[in-house]
Symmetry: C2
């Protein structure tokens, strides 16, 4: 049977990179065909090891991912990389420029690389990224690496879809260490200190250790791995740490627990995002809602009462 | 008429600190009386100058606020300070410990100080903080200072309620400067570099200037003010910068525009938060929803289809 007679789903499940790229564009454009496709291939997901990388901009996440990708290919594992750029639509997408570091893998059929930015995802970045991750999983990739910028609470929830979360810092990431200390940033599974040739690396590692020691005692001791990703140093140690964490969550049964919790959060997040979009669309169109908002601005009606009226009206219709 | 015969709303509008404290507790406890009270006093809001302070933990925001409060009192203006602590309920609220720096003002009837943490606000921190701000405004405070931790996108939206947004950094806030540069953190109206006795202050200020120069040209040129808040240095300069920004937005008419946009966002945010809470409550109770989620976990039904089914069921009932 020639390839053209196969459906997009069949080609995707067969591991075809172009089919995967097209499928992701469909979900990114909020095309119903994309959602239908995810529905169709969903039973074939769950096989990939999904690792999420977060950390402030400029610490070298993309270089680290390029190194890990190279190592996985040497081990004959297939890889998919999804980089999420939540930067404002008013900037020029400085983060996406980093993707160039992955360029040496562009021609390898075993490596799939995709970037996704706020301004591209018509139906919400978080939802589109989740659907893209499921499509990459269904296409039979052994390893999925998700990358997003995070410098505190509220980073794009796609990290919640990962089995293992890696926080990447560098000497000088004082704000992030303070955020960990204050509890506004979640404790990750693995911490990487990149650019470890910097003279302040030892100080940084000490600070992180003392912050981790303050937290509640966990059975899993968060490893701190030093890397110089541009020179390829420390990448094997990161891979080992990821492998150990995976073995740990598999042995403890926490991987299934984690995936269950993540999937439930995702269902709720998708439902909430849709409700919010519907609400915003109705607000833009409805002259009654506009009048209500005018009364809020003129201090006649308080915001909570206006919200109550809007919700009651929606229920009545 | 003795004070006890007055209603809580009357005492609040009269500027009574204890009435204000009680009113805020009502909204924090999601008590319907609190919402009713906000509804009643809302027409008397809009008179206060509201400034929001954000920045990584540990940069000295509370010390800066203490200094600004002292200065306002010397000018015979009444002040209310609301500190928002979005740290996880699993940490010990390290941030609230900082409030001790405001202690010298506790007995002054012209100064009202309140902290609010995620774990305290039963109906959502962001909603409770907005309601508290409206109550402080209605109680006739001249100046409202809001403080929250932010190290990137997604800080608590209470900052959106401010007329002027101040980002507080210190030498070593490399992650925040990178976040500004990458566009994941919004450009504030005023930047304060605290702990300016540090030798790296000049480098920091230069970095911030070059990041601001990269952005789109704005008529308002963001001032960068150096402070040593523990020694009271630079506080008057911060006050001047705030006054200039206020004069600018008043003259340009952007203050009304900003307040209009903020109030609209708040109505939508309250409505969305309520929908999400209702959804989560129904999910916890409804055995049908639980079965749906079990099918998602067993990879029979994809998350988006499960969300669709939940939303359709809610509409049908």
């Amino acid at each position: 049977m020639p390839a053209t007679d196969q459906t997009l789903a069949e080609r995707l499940l067969g591991g075809d990179k172009r089919a995967l790229a097209r499928a992701i564009s469909l979900v990114e454009n909020d095309n119903p065909e994309g959602w239908e496709l995810v529905r169709e291939v969903y039973p074939r997901t769950g096989g990939a090891a999904v690792t999420g990388f977060t950390g402030p901009p400029g610490v070298g996440k993309s270089t680290l991912l390029a190194g890990l990708t190279k190592l996985q290919r040497a081990r004959e594992r297939t890889v998919a990389v999804l980089s999420i750029d939540p930067s404002s639509p008013f900037t020029k997408g400085a983060l996406l420029g980093d993707r160039i570091r992955l360029a040496e893998h562009f021609l390898d059929p075993g490596v799939f690389i995709r970037s996704m930015a706020s301004r591209g995802a018509l139906g919400g970045l978080s939802e589109a990224a989740l659907q893209a991750t499921l499509l990459m999983d269904a296409s039979g990739r052994d390893v999925i690496l998700l990358e997003t910028v995070g410098v505190g609470q509220g980073e794009v929830d796609i990290i919640d879809h990962a089995d293992t979360v890696v926080l990447v810092l560098m000497p000088g990431s004082g704000d992030s260490v303070q955020a960990l200390k204050a509890g506004v940033m979640e404790i990750p599974d693995v911490i990487v200190v990149n650019k470890a040739d910097h003279p302040l690396t030892d100080t940084m590692v000490r600070e992180i250790k003392s912050v981790l020691a303050l937290g509640p005692h966990q059975e899993w001791e968060v490893p701190i791995v030093r890397t110089e990703a541009v020179r390829g140093e420390g990448i094997e140690e990161v891979e080992s740490a990821l492998g150990e964490h995976r073995a740990y969550i598999e042995a403890e049964g926490t991987m299934l627990e984690r995936r269950r919790r993540n999937l439930m959060n995702e269902v709720l997040a998708i439902a909430t995002a849709r409700m919010r979009r519907e609400l915003e669309a109705s607000v833009r169109k409805d002259p009654g809602v506009q009048q209500l908002l005018d009364r809020v601005v003129s201090r006649e009606l308080d915001p909570a009462s206006a919200a109550t009226t809007i919700l009651e009206d929606r229920r009545a219709n």
